[in-house]
């Protein structure tokens, strides 16, 4: 069992958890993820690691409640446990001295870029961050990123914080200003795609962390298949980061939606049951 030590709601429907996972914490590197399962009937879902403490044996995760399983996790409290936490999975972020790096996060991706930023800083890079959200209260980890990176750019669609616009507007402003040598984007597919479209003509190496569907996370099932540069890759063992310029995004999105109808029904069922048990209590 993997206990939740702290739980904090950091944005609406979004929790930041610190959990017990000593085996994972010992080896984890930035860019890696875990697969978790809440209970015996639960689904195995992948979550990025946004912080870790090797000595304390803890990991930090950010979970956005989107479907049934992430709602189940959202509803867990400090003191509750995950039945399974498996990892660290995936290939760590490639880090070397690049020069100027820009890390871009949307949603839970704003958490995932934090350990990457720290690592790139250790290697003497100049590291800029960009985080975007629809509105101010949805911003995640802005304060931590601000503290850890050379500079943080914030964008909101409604202009309630930082500059009004999208992360790509901030990226464009940076690119207009100075040379950039490396870009990493973690977040919703349209965001990663837009970033890649912008850097491709400039030839700036750009990595995107793909959030494919997964089951085992160890290369056994192939659920996480993506087409990159015309080749089939398994994002759990070959990724999750791939060159953003080579990913077949349309296929990725179609595969992510494979179970959309069923997942919607499952979420409704879960929420209904939750309401009933609350009424009875």
């Amino acid at each position: 069992m993997f206990q939740i030590f702290t739980r904090q709601e950091i944005a609406p429907k979004t929790v930041h958890l610190k959990i017990e996972a000593p085996l994972v914490a010992r080896k984890v590197q930035p860019g890696q993820f875990v697969i978790v399962r809440v209970d015996e009937k639960g689904e195995r879902i992948p979550l990025s690691i946004c912080g870790f403490d090797r000595e304390a044996g803890t990991l930090e995760l950010i979970v956005q409640a989107v479907g049934r399983t992430s709602h189940e996790i959202y509803d867990l409290q400090a003191g509750d446990s995950f039945l399974d936490v498996v990892g660290p999975l995936g290939v760590p972020t490639h880090a070397e001295k690049f020069g100027t790096c820009v890390l871009i996060g949307g949603g839970y991706g704003s958490g995932a870029i934090l350990p990457m930023g720290r690592k790139l800083k250790e290697l003497d890079n100049k590291v800029y961050g960009i985080v975007g959200a629809r509105t101010k209260e949805l911003l995640i980890f802005a304060d931590r990123l601000q503290a850890a990176l050379d500079r943080l750019f914030i964008t909101t669609n409604d202009g309630s914080a930082g500059m009004q616009g999208l992360v790509t507007d901030a990226l464009k402003a940076i690119l207009d200003d100075e040379p950039v040598h490396y870009v990493v984007a973690v977040g919703p597919v349209p965001m990663m795609r837009a970033v890649s479209d912008m850097t491709k003509p400039l030839g700036i190496p750009t990595m995107v962390s793909l959030n494919t569907l997964m089951v085992d996370g160890t290369g056994m099932c192939g659920a996480c298949r993506v087409t990159v540069g015309g080749e089939t890759r398994f994002s759990c063992i070959h990724g999750p980061e791939f060159s953003g310029h080579d990913v077949d995004y349309d296929e990725l999105v179609a595969r992510q939606r494979m179970y959309a109808e069923k997942e919607r029904a499952a979420l409704e069922e879960y929420l209904k049951q939750k309401e009933q048990s609350l009424c009875q209590a």
């Binding site: 639960g42 689904e43 399974d84 085992d216 069923k262």
Partner: protein, 480 residues
């Protein structure tokens, strides 16, 4: 009873175990074969002529004393027969169900030369079930402690067998398993209607009695490397990680929505219980027409689980002919009885999707058989211009597996073949790294449950001998 002459025995016709009728079983996940009752098992046992030099034993990869256990069944001494089985095979209820007997022990049975062989597998299953359900299972005990510890990576048939053998000898055994349940392919691959979960669980209980410590959710090569495990103080390691990396076709459209690997399809249904969605949270998606590509065990399991989901049609597509199909004869027969259609000498060339990336058809080509290839089977050759399409919304690719690279590629100095298979000394099971042994699909690229178990026994003996030499133990290996 044993007053029967050989002539009389040979005259007894082979008993067939009762099965759920195809039209009933194709709508449920209950076990297909119902197994022998006591009388049938005893009568079938009488067909064995107790050969003084039994050829059947050589056909069994773990060398079960077949005439001895079968004779005991004929005499009605079932629990004694179970003990004989367990001298060599700790998973008899599993092997009695999934062994390809027709290619192993039964193929070598002398009675089979003229008529039909003794139904060894079904008798084995009966004996194991009888013992299991009798409540009088003889529990294994760990040997007196040797002070040595062995780590086992992977809990499929190879890892389980290795753990069992070594714990019985008194070594402290720790099993590391990547998934959340032990069992390997037994659990996530082979469907419940061939191998019910309670059968696996009860045979795996032996590990508990032997004090084997099981760490689930531990991905070796990621959470811990082989080097880390040695550093933790383990004296030796047995690698039994199987061959779990599904081969894909490498043709256009293989990542369309609706195209599964057999591993994913079966894992969702078996391990994750997608058949019980939404009670269980993992979904599975399929349409009216399911096409399964391949003709091995996984293809049969893919097709037969598909039929049970009751789509309009399930079609098996295979590029060679029926004669070359690598699956068990019984499974192909079962699949066809249940309504699976077959298209032999047919090879997919591309998957065709709609504008939403959803699979809608597969373009295939007809094949002809040429000269035998390196596998000894006749090579399929495409017939130019024979292309046609099969309408379908779901496809399951079942072409077998490559070796998963997580451990093998993260272990410097480990010798691999070109295709990534771990090279071992066939007499000891030791790899190119001293103290690291391997068994099962990771050294063959894919074979059978019982062969993996046989290799694990070789490796267990290899490990024991290695520890004897290294630590000056005085304990002799007593083969089980």
């Amino acid at each position: 009873m044993s007053g029967l002459s050989i002539k009389d025995r040979i005259k007894i016709p082979r008993h067939k175990a009762p099965e759920q009728p195809p039209e009933v079983r194709s709508r449920n996940f209950e076990e297909v074969c119902l197994g022998f009752g006591l009388e049938e098992a005893k009568e079938e046992a009488l067909r064995c002529i107790e050969c003084p030099k039994p050829s059947c034993v050589a056909g069994c990869p773990v060398g079960i004393d077949i005439p001895r256990f079968v004779k005991l069944v004929g005499e009605g001494a079932i629990l004694e027969a179970a003990h004989v089985l367990k001298e060599k095979n700790i998973l008899p209820a599993i092997c009695g169900r999934v062994c390809p007997q027709e290619k192993q022990c039964e193929q070598s049975c002398v009675i089979g030369k003229r008529g039909e062989p003794v139904s060894i597998g079904k008798i084995e299953r009966f004996v194991a079930d009888f013992e299991r359900l009798s409540g009088r299972v003889e529990l294994p005990k760990p040997g007196a402690s040797t002070g040595c510890s062995v780590a086992i990576v992977g809990s499929g048939p190879a890892g389980i067998t290795g753990a069992f053998e070594l714990a019985r000898l008194g070594h402290r055994v720790t099993l590391f398993e990547a998934m959340h349940k032990p069992g390997g392919v037994l659990y996530y691959g082979i469907p419940r209607f061939r191998l019910p979960s309670d059968v696996i669980e009860s045979e795996l209980k032996a590990l508990e009695y032997l004090g084997v410590e099981i760490f689930k959710d531990a991905v070796i090569g990621k959470a811990l490397s082989i080097e880390d495990i040695f550093k933790m103080g383990y004296d030796s390691i047995l690698l039994g990680t199987g061959a779990g990396l599904p081969k894909m076709l490498g043709i256009p459209g293989e990542n369309l929505v609706g195209v599964y690997s057999a591993n994913e399809w079966l894992t969702r249904l078996n391990l994750m219980r997608a058949d019980l969605f939404p009670d269980y949270a993992t979904p599975i998606e399929y349409g009216k027409n399911i096409v399964v590509i391949g003709a091995g065990d996984a293809a049969m399991d893919g097709a037969r689980t598909s039929i049970r989901l009751q789509p309009e049609a399930v079609t098996l597509v295979y590029r060679r002919s029926r004669a070359e199909a690598p699956c068990r004869v019984e499974e192909l027969h079962h699949a066809e009885e249940e309504g699976v259609k077959t298209r032999f000498l047919t090879n997919p060339v591309r998957f065709i999707g709609d504008s939403h990336y959803k699979l809608k058809a597969i373009e295939v080509m007809e094949m002809a058989l040429g000269e035998p290839d390196s596998s000894g089977r006749r090579r399929p050759i495409p017939i130019e211009g024979s292309n046609w399409t099969i309408e379908c919304d779901t496809a399951i690719i079942a072409l077998g597996c490559d070796i998963n690279p997580l451990v093998t590629r993260s272990t410097p100095g480990l010798e691999l073949t070109k295709s990534g298979i771990v090279v071992v000394n066939t007499e000891t099971g030791m790899s190119s790294i001293p103290g690291l042994f391997a068994a099962g699909d990771v050294i063959t690229g894919g074979s059978t449950v019982i062969s993996a178990m046989g290799q694990a026994k070789v490796a267990a003996k290899g490990i024991h001998d290695y520890l004897v030499a290294k630590k000056g133990l005085r304990l002799q290996y007593a083969a089980v």
